[in-house]
Structure formats: structure tokens, C-alpha cells
Symmetry: C2
Subunit: 105 residues, 2 copies
DNA sequence: TATGGTTACGGATGCCGTAAACATC
DNA sequence: GATGTTTACGGCATCCGTAACCATA
């Protein structure tokens, strides 16, 4: 499992279209198809129902979409944290004065 | 970024040794070295300090370790959820009667 | 029949392991 | 000098894009 696959799945789920997702992601349509299939194979279940004209999420797809978004969010936080060389005590531009963050540290 | 890289990093961080991590993961030592380096390149910073005899985490490494564990945990939950074909209402062996789960759905 | 997803296929890239080189204790 | 990591390198697998195929509305 990798962030590329998750990105593609999230995009397809948002667009409900492989071709539009491919366009938005600047890759070819077969590439999206390949990677979604690889993800489905790894997970051992279908995430999407294709009927040549329409795409919709399976129940598993809905469930996994939440995880995918959470994982991508975590990965993005980690990258921002390290790439911007933030130190643990120098949080960036925190609006409001909450002492605990919502979900992840 | 992928779960393999994260797995290897977490293992190296646990063992504080590339060779022991490689042994535990049943891959060669250079493979671990390659993947950790790829991860560091992608993140744009060093996660580990190598001194040929000892390995220790950088500050960035400590920070990233938490994210890595969280991401791997999420990925594992997602896989368990889908591979075991659990339906949302048929949670497995829940001890106690909590109505909300602790962190993730 | 037209649209949209999948499969086939070829070239390029990447990955892993063996072997050699390198660095520290 | 011994231990442990990195670099070099070669074979194999994987990935991506073009093109062809296929299925549905």
C-alpha cells in the first residue's frame, strides 16, 4: 500500500470517474485503473463497482475511503512537519488557543 | 511513501540496527539501507544517524516515528476490516460496552 | 454507436540480493 | 582487524503510456 494508490482511489471516489480522476491527476486512465486494481488485489476486495458508464463505491469502498483519507492526512502532516523543519514546540500558525489538537498529535 | 518503507524504518528504530532489522524482516541489509534512504530522500531529511557501529534516531526521526506507527496502525486496521469482511455493525470481540471507539472508526 | 474502463504490450524505471568498498570502534 | 553500513552492479519485476479491446447506455 502506498500513498499514490490512496491518492488515486480518493480522487476516483471524488469524481466517480476513472477518466476524470486521471485527468485531474495528470496520469493516463489505464494507470489509474492499474493502481486501483493493485490496491483492490492487496486488500482482497472490490472498492468500486464499474459498469462502463458509471462508477460507484462498494460498501468496502466507503469504509476504506475513510481510512485512505486519514492515512493521507497523516502522511501529509508528517511531510509538512519534516520538510518545514518544525521543531515539536514551534507549531505553525495555530488559530485559537486549543491545547489539544483534534485527532492526531 | 509506502507501508514497506515505514515498516522497515520502525523496525530499525526498534532495533537500532540495520542488520538486526534486516534479519527480523527477512530481507537483506542493503535492502533496508536502500529503503530507509529512499524514505529520507522523499522526506528531505535524515531520520537516522549512522556511525558504522551505532544507529540512533535524529529529532526528525523521533517525530516521524510517531507518524509512521500511526499510519501503519491505520493501514493495518483498514486491511483487517476489509479482509475479514466485517460489516460496520458486526465488530469483533469487543470487551466492555463502550459505544464509541477510542480513536478510529 | 459512442463513451468509458480494461487488457495487451513494450520500453523504461526501480527493486532486491550478492559482492566489494568503506568507516569506526 | 572486526563489525556494520553504504555503494556498485546485474537480473528480475514492476510501472507507465499507447493502442487495441470490450461492455453498456
Amino acid at each position: 500500500m502506498n500513498t499514490m494508490q490512496l491518492n488515486r482511489f480518493v480522487e476516483v471516489a471524488a469524481q466517480l470517474s476513472f477518466s476524470k480522476a486521471a485527468e485531474a491527476l495528470h496520469v493516463s486512465q489505464p494507470t489509474v485503473s492499474h493502481q486501483i486494481k493493485a490496491l483492490e488485489d492487496e486488500l482482497g476486495c472490490a472498492l468500486l463497482v464499474r459498469s462502463t458508464r458509471t462508477v460507484r463505491l462498494t460498501d468496502d469502498g466507503f469504509a476504506f475511503l475513510e481510512y485512505a483519507n486519514d492515512i493521507l492526512d497523516l502522511a501529509a502532516r508528517a511531510e509538512r512537519r519534516l520538510k518545514h523543519k518544525q521543531r515539536p514546540n514551534s507549531q505553525q500558525l495555530r488559530i485559537g488557543a486549543q491545547h489539544k489538537r483534534a485527532t492526531y498529535p
